[in-house]
């Protein structure tokens, strides 16, 4: 892929690291530590084009007034910006199961953080291999 040296330097400087992803998660959760489980993240293990990656996230929850999912956040470790998208649900969502399409700039781990109505956080993650990266093309 043709890429000018001018565009190259600022490009890689803006890539988020694992630490920045952790910081983004901390900003969402505060001092609460997430527990692993309940969250299922479906991501293709091998991505040919990082510009459009189908992703599906579901949270194991009865979605009743007493116990439901309040929010689901998707966090990328290797994108220029760790936050991808945040979904805010409630009892009226009926099912905590969301599909969307995201961009991935690199082979990386993607995290999903679910905030429950009782204040706990649950996390799940998926790893993927990206052959053609998003947002590196020069136009």
């Amino acid at each position: 892929m043709a890429m000018g040296a001018v565009g190259l330097a600022p490009l890689f400087a803006t890539h988020a690291t694992e630490d920045e992803a952790l910081a983004a998660m901390k900003a969402l959760m505060g001092t609460v530590a997430p527990r692993a489980g309940k969250v299922t993240l479906e991501l293709p293990p091998l991505v040919e084009n990082g510009n459009l990656v189908a992703i599906k996230v579901s949270v194991d929850s009865p979605m009743t007034a007493a116990d439901h999912v309040k929010a689901i956040h998707l966090i990328a470790e290797g994108n220029p910006q760790p936050n991808i998208v945040s979904f805010f649900l409630g009892v009226r969502a009926g099912r905590a199961d969301i599909g969307t399409r995201i961009r991935l700039a690199n082979s990386q781990r993607v995290w999903a953080i679910a905030q429950m109505s009782d204040g706990t956080f649950w996390s799940g993650h998926a790893d993927t291999l990206v052959t053609l990266a998003a947002c590196t093309e020069v136009i």
Partner: protein
């Protein structure tokens, strides 16, 4: 400058009371991330949809905050509980004065 674009909402027209209905929305938008450069090395300014809200008879049932990591022409598949006959309004708000909205009717029996 106010902008808008094409949207497509796929959902059932009728549902039983209490049924969980699947909703699929797609909106036409480049979602320019703000991280890309021209060949001259100039950064292309960010131009994305930032927010999506679904309201059911005026009450919010689903909301999403979008960031540059969402792909072009954002698709969101989600669910809602059919509580009463009425209208669902889908609204997108983005950079540079972008807004789109569409309303769908749902008959609950």
């Amino acid at each position: 400058m106010s902008k808008t674009s094409r949207t497509l909402v796929t959902m059932p027209k009728v549902a039983a009371k209490g049924e969980v209905v699947a909703i699929r929305v797609i909106v036409q938008h480049d979602m320019e991330s703000g991280f890309r450069h021209t060949q001259q090395g100039e950064r292309i300014p960010r131009d994305i949809i930032r927010e999506f809200v679904c309201t059911y008879n005026g009450q919010e049932v689903f909301r999403a905050d979008l960031h540059p990591g969402v792909g072009a022409n954002p698709v969101i598949n989600f669910f809602t509980v059919a509580t009463e006959t009425g209208s669902l309004e889908f609204k997108w708000v983005g950079d540079n004065g972008y807004t789109s909205s569409v309303t769908s009717q749902l008959t609950v029996s």
